[in-house]
């Protein structure tokens, strides 16, 4: 699939929007307007690479909490995001029952996420079982952090998909930390890709700061999975530029120098430079995008702030399917 200039600009736009939204969330937190934020800064390039490799709305997506850029690419809106951050009425994924970043978007085949890490990986495999039973040519993309790969459920999921050659692309976003713990405390191998090979599926490691390298890797994996060649694991090597969440203080476990070094090689910057070099973007075009992002974000944030909380009694349902009122 050719990556046209337009696609490249759209990818960049999505990354940019994700970044600015995320930064706004941090600002809202500092202002005391929200209580919690978990950030995707540093992951955007890789997520956008994944998003643009699938048939959005046709393929299935089983994401995790850092996937803001991925979700935006799937049609999640800045307003959706703010409603989630603020727990306001009409939050689309859960009616404000879930914490921020616990996405769900049925219209786009995006499945709901819980907080315990890695449970979702098995859901991706179950969906792929359905796809296989129904002889569809759909693919499931599922994401998780590298720390999450220490969970037995993650292993079981990958193993099951490998045995039955199911159409799943397992994306592990390796940002080098699980809260405070470095990768060396999660695994004895140098990359998650090696783990995949031990389970009998291809494992690929790709530079997650390079959106287009990611796109290429995901396109190949998606193509293989769609063609019935079985699952693939793609490790996107990214870096968590922020603390784990707004509750974290990362100064206790990593140096400022380390973080600063990674900021300089950030995926958003790199993509911008590449696209400017290629003539796909001009500085003026980027400025215009920045302006557009700011406007969109200002408006969405204001609208969310103006939205009330759901009535408390709505917490009473729907415990069972019979009680669903808004589905």
């Amino acid at each position: 699939m050719e990556v046209t200039a337009e696609i490249k600009r759209e990818m960049f736009w999505t990354m940019l929007l994700a970044r600015r939204l995320d930064e706004r969330a941090w600002m809202l937190h500092r202002q005391g307007k929200i209580t919690f934020h978990v950030s995707g800064i540093g992951h955007e390039a890789a997520q956008v690479g994944a998003a643009f490799a699938i048939r959005r709305g046709y393929d299935w997506v089983v994401p995790y909490y850092r996937d803001l850029a991925l979700m935006l690419a799937l049609g999640y809106t800045p307003l959706d995001f703010f409603l989630g951050l603020m727990g306001r009425r009409g939050e689309p994924g859960s009616g404000a029952r879930q914490m921020p970043n616990h996405w769900s978007m049925r219209s786009m085949n995006v499945v709901s996420l819980s907080s315990p890490v890695s449970t979702q990986t098995l859901h991706a495999v179950g969906i792929a079982m359905g796809i296989k039973m129904r002889k569809e040519d759909k693919v499931v993309l599922t994401t998780v952090g590298e720390g999450g790969t220490s969970q037995g459920e993650w292993y079981e999921a990958v193993n099951w998909a490998a045995i039955h050659r199911l159409p799943v692309v397992f994306n592990v976003q390796n940002n080098q930390y699980a809260i405070s713990e470095p990768v060396s405390l999660q695994m004895a191998v140098n990359s998650v890709a090696e783990k995949a090979r031990g389970l009998g599926l291809p494992g690929v490691s790709v530079d997650g700061m390079d959106a287009f390298a990611c796109l290429t890797a995901f396109q190949k994996a998606v193509e293989d999975a769609r063609a019935g060649h079985g699952p693939v694991l793609i490790e996107t090597c990214v870096y968590r530029i922020t603390p784990h969440s707004s509750d974290d203080d990362d100064r206790t476990y990593r140096s400022r120098e380390e973080v600063e070094a990674h900021k300089k090689d950030d995926g958003l910057l790199r993509t911008r430079n590449t696209l400017e070099r290629e003539g796909v973007l001009t500085p003026q075009a980027v400025d215009a995008m920045e302006e557009r992002a700011r406007q969109i974000i200002d408006e969405a944030a204001a609208q969310a702030e103006a939205t009330p909380y759901p009535p408390g009694e709505e917490g009473a349902f729907p415990v069972y399917a019979e009680e669903v009122r808004h589905a």
Binding site: W60, V62, G93, S94, G95, R97, Q98, H102, S104, R106, V111, S112, S114, S115, P116, T119, T121, L122, H123, A124, V125, G126, I127, A128, M129, G130, I131, K132, M133, G152, E153, E156, A157, N159, W160, I163, F317, P318, V319, Y320, A321, E322, E323, V324, R325, H326, A327
Partner: protein, 327 residues
């Protein structure tokens, strides 16, 4: 009407549901060629093929987690846990995912699925092939918990479970698999999930039981009748949601309540029933609410002597009936 065994009733329900709805599939260990270690799926693999009667890896978290995915995709998985004792690896999926998918997505996603498991002691199974696990799940809003005591109910309730839009845990008293026979009409019928059943009318006291203990309760009630004590026996059948009406109506009539279960006493399901009665039927009670349950040890020991010590039987129930009736 033909008399069949409990296990045959379950097999029939599965067979007919697989035939009725091509979204139904069975997932579990040894459910395929082997037809299940208790033969609940005998012949189904041959009839419906390896995709719909699916031999899973030896991994219960997977069986349930993949089931969730299949349900999200639109299928109707019936997951088999080989022994209820082995359900714990799936506990995270059951509590974090299965039970709350509907609630956490405000109904955007639901997981219609059945989790079947043989449970209970008296079969020489020792600590890990005898457990009663229902109390872990009757505490979990979002789940339904069903325990049939006879072939008619087993077939009808299992069919209801498969068709229910919610997740249903279906625990089968394995000691009764071949022991308990009963009339079952060939072909389709359902028994609704929810209502308990007054299986024997009486006026001196109400006896609440389920599973194998319901049979012992009936036996004891017959003997009690010979002694002039009129026992009303209620087969709870659906443990969650609790059928408060039937329970309270019976206690209001008799003024005395005895709850019998094989599971250990402290924190068992009987505690909830006792608490409901104590709270809602206080003025109707002529005697303390009694529970006759398994002893507070981890599970049924293997040696026949200790197994017998652990297990309830009609004689012990009769003694409790006499004592309560005399209060």
């Amino acid at each position: 009407m033909p008399e069949i065994t409990l296990i045959e009733a379950i097999r029939q329900a599965l067979d007919e549901e697989l035939a009725r709805d091509d979204r139904v599939l069975v997932i579990g260990e040894d459910v395929g060629k082997r037809g299940g270690v208790f033969r609940a799926t005998q012949g189904l693999y041959e009839k419906y093929g390896a995709l719909r009667v699916f031999d899973s890896p030896l991994a219960e978290a997977s069986i349930v987690g993949v089931g969730v995915g299949a349900a999200l995709y639109g299928l109707r998985p019936v997951c088999e846990i080989q022994f209820a004792d082995f359900i714990y690896p799936a506990f995270n999926q059951l509590i974090s995912e299965v039970a709350r998918m509907c609630y956490r997505t405000n109904g955007e996603w639901t997981v219609p699925m059945v989790i079947r498991a043989p449970y209970g002691g008296g079969v020489g199974g020792g600590l890990y092939h005898s457990q009663s696990v229902e109390a872990f799940f009757t505490h979990v809003p979002g789940l339904k918990v069903v325990i049939p005591s006879n072939p008619y109910d087993a077939k009808g309730l299992l069919k209801s479970a498969v068709r229910d839009p919610n997740p249903v845990l279906f625990f089968e008293p394995k000691k009764g698999y071949r022991l308990i026979r009963g009339e079952v009409p060939p072909g389709d019928y359902t028994v609704p999930i929810g209502p308990a059943q007054v299986s024997r009318e009486g006026h001196d006291l109400s006896l609440f039981a389920y599973g194998m203990m319901h049979h012992y309760a009936l036996e004891a009630a017959v003997q009690a009748a010979a002694e002039g004590i009129s026992v009303e026996v209620v087969d709870l059948r659906t443990l969650l949601p609790v059928d408060r009406e039937t329970i309270l109506a019976s206690v209001r009539k008799t003024g005395k309540a005895l709850i019998v279960h094989e599971d250990t006493l402290t924190g068992g399901y009987g505690a909830e029933i006792a608490a409901i009665i104590a709270s809602e039927a206080f003025t109707d009670l002529d005697a303390p609410v009694r529970r006759l349950c398994g002893p507070d040890v981890p599970a049924v020991p293997f040696s026949p002597s200790m197994q017998e010590w652990f297990m309830l039987n009609p004689e012990r129930i009769l003694r409790e009936i006499r004592s309560l009736a005399a209060y």
